[in-house]
């Protein structure tokens, strides 16, 4: 099957936005659980989510004080803020609207319903009472859409670019959560060591990695194990390593893939060096920083090669 470059572009972004909506919902949900479990005053600041999502600027433009209300409002109810769930879903919907012809018929209906649900419920879900239900619904509906695509799409270019978008976003989010989350925990320098496992646990939960971690590593959650699991576990489908492997698999059969493959191989080498020795906070941060830059380079290479084919 042929695939228009412009359509590939939109499918990739549809998929990234859907993944982003789901991941953001997980992140907020995990944080919500966390704050109910730990003593007041020991919880990580609310703006940790803002930092994870790189949304400092959007936040400062709108609010002066970091409060639960403001942070949640921005992330789940502000359809104009690019870091918000409604924005991601709106953007996913726009991209589906322009690629309906290559997607299963139900895809449009599901995404459209999700969009309507968010438009109707977001504002009333800022308060704690409805918040979790709202987030759970977002996650469930995103998974339903992913399930539909996974079980009905032919394994052709449509599927390929959707998968690329999803995996890249997932890897991106995983590295962000570890970077900021681990940074926060380590900054406390063991001052409240008793709650550290809760914090690491929340981090795993934000990445839906809790039960997989337990089976693979065990019930004890510690820094090195968690970082290693999130980055380098080969079988867990949300680990960075798994995402990178999946991206490589989809890039291989594409034409003109030399640059993108080079970028992905750099990422693989970098991952391979992880876990050889324990990292300090600074080393971890530097590692993730570099990794993020290379992920970006990979995105740029995919975009240049297959989406902007202006030179005929």
């Amino acid at each position: 099957m042929t695939m228009l470059s412009s359509v590939a572009d939109r499918l990739y972004w549809m998929s990234r936005y859907l993944e982003r909506a789901e991941d953001t919902a997980r992140l907020v949900a995990a944080y919500n659980h966390l704050i109910m479990d730990i003593p007041r005053g020991s919880e990580p600041p609310w703006d940790i989510m803002i930092r994870i999502l790189d949304a400092e600027q959007a936040f400062e433009e709108r609010y002066r004080t970091v409060s639960e209300q403001n942070v949640i409002k921005l992330l789940i109810a502000d359809s104009h803020a690019p870091c918000s769930i409604p924005f991601a879903i709106k953007s996913a919907r726009e991209n589906v609207r322009t690629t309906r012809d290559v997607l299963p018929e139900d895809a449009w209906e599901l995404v459209n319903e999700l969009h309507l649900y968010v438009a109707e419920s977001a504002k009333s879900s800022v308060g704690r009472r409805n918040r979790q239900t709202f987030l759970a619904e977002i996650i469930a509906r995103c998974q339903m859409i992913n399930g539909l695509l996974l079980s009905t799409l032919s394994r052709d270019h449509t599927y390929r670019f959707i998968k690329l978008g999803r995996l890249l976003e997932c890897a991106d989010m995983g590295t962000r959560v570890v970077d900021v989350g681990a940074g926060d925990i380590l900054d406390r320098a063991g001052s409240r060591a008793a709650i550290d496992p809760l914090l690491w646990g929340a981090l795993l939960q934000a990445l839906s990695a809790t039960s997989a971690y337990r089976r693979e590593v065990g019930p004890i959650v510690e820094q090195d194990d968690v970082v290693n699991f999130v980055f380098a576990q080969a079988n867990f489908p949300r680990s960075v390593k798994f995402c990178i492997a999946g991206i490589r698999e989809e890039l291989t059969p594409l034409r003109n893939n030399e640059n993108a493959l080079r970028a992905i191989n750099r990422l693989r080498r970098r991952l391979g060096r992880l876990g050889k020795e324990a990292l300090t906070r600074e080393e971890l941060h530097a590692f993730i920083d570099e990794f993020q830059l290379q992920l970006n380079a990979l995105h740029q290479s995919i975009s240049d090669t297959w989406f902007r084919t202006d030179g005929s």
Partner: protein, 482 residues
Amino acid sequence: MTKGWKGYKAGGFYDELITDKGSPRTAARQALRLLQSLPEQEMDSRRQSADLAIREMGISFTVYTEGGNIDRAWPFDIIPRIITGREWAQVSRGLQQRSRALNCFIDDVYNQQRILADGIVPADIVLDSPNFKAPCMGMSPRYGAWAHICGSDLVRDQRGRFFVLEDNLRVPSGVSYMVENREITKRVLPELFENYSILPVDDYPLKLYETLAQLSPRQRRRPTVVVLTPGIYNSAYFEHAFLAQGMGAELVEGTDLFVDSDDCVYMRTVDGPARVDVVYRRIDEEFMDPEAFRADSVLGVPGLMRAWKQGNVAIANAPGAGVADDKVIYAYVPDMIRYYLGEKPLVNSVPTYLCMREKDRDYVLANLPKLVVKPANESGGYGIMVGPHSSKATHREFARLIEKDPRNYIAQPTLSLSTAPTYVDGQIEPRHLDLRPFILQGRDCWVTPGGLTRVAMKKGSLVVNSSQGGGSKDTWIVEGKA
């Protein structure tokens, strides 16, 4: 029973479902029995499910306003319009005949121009029309087919006779709504289907693909067909996507295509350039190719016309087909049928006064309050004056317009459009409607069973265009005795 069924009166118009005496027409009997048996709340809940289905299916159209573009949900009335198969067969034959004659005419105009030489149609009204495209001279597309997709608007008079009101040969739209309307009725009133055998409408995209594939310049088992859309902000974008999906074709915008130095059309794909065989254009020819037509068009594909003239790509509808889509030319269609086919027209045209003819103009100016005046070259119901519903000031304004530019105006007697029971504000009331069937012309000619019924939702109004508050109904062609 919902209010309005008892004592329902169409008030002198032909009603599609209920006779003057108030009894159901034969084909509608079963459906009416069921609809009338529904309690008021039930009727309303069915309407609500229809609204919900429309929202969930994302069936929308775009309305252009000063404040920006609004994506509106498709307005739909749940009571279907029912036409017997026997009656339809006749209309369908008439439409095929019309389509053949119109295509003969277009092909003639761009080649020998026999009909002009023989004085059947005055040469100047064709050659001076903005719809006549000189660059198309000498072209002869396969099967002599230019207007591959035609949407003709039909209305019924007091006696229930069908009349063709106009033929849309440029980029007629609405067919996706015809298909979706059926889908909605199936969802919200499934019981209605139990006692009927209704001709299906969902095979339209397949028929369209077959027609388009026949036009391919390369003989291939599966020619590459693309749907060329002006983009997401076009009011019919929903339909463009719908048809592309239904045909398994690529939905492209101008920037997705380019014409290479070999004068072939290619689309930009992730595997590199891929040759295109047939372009189903849903973009006005004016904007289709900045090299050939409007240079300021950013929607088009430079060189598309060149590729078409070289025979390297088929375009549907062919550029130039709009020459027969003109309300002045319309008046000559019965003559065309006699001239090219030697046949008697099987479906009526509305008597048309051409303001360019002195005698006609005098009559029109003297009878403005009785007539409908239309600009020759507009669509979407814009610029129309419905005499009986207009003020004296409007009559005077149109008199001025006509005298200034007589070629651009035609007039027709005010037709008493038929009505059908329609669910409005919790009541059943008669509303006027028309019908747009779609005619496909390739090697063969095919007509949709039924078409898109548009309803004027305002009481007494005759304007059915969705851009002006019109709604629509599912249209059934039913076979056998119901």
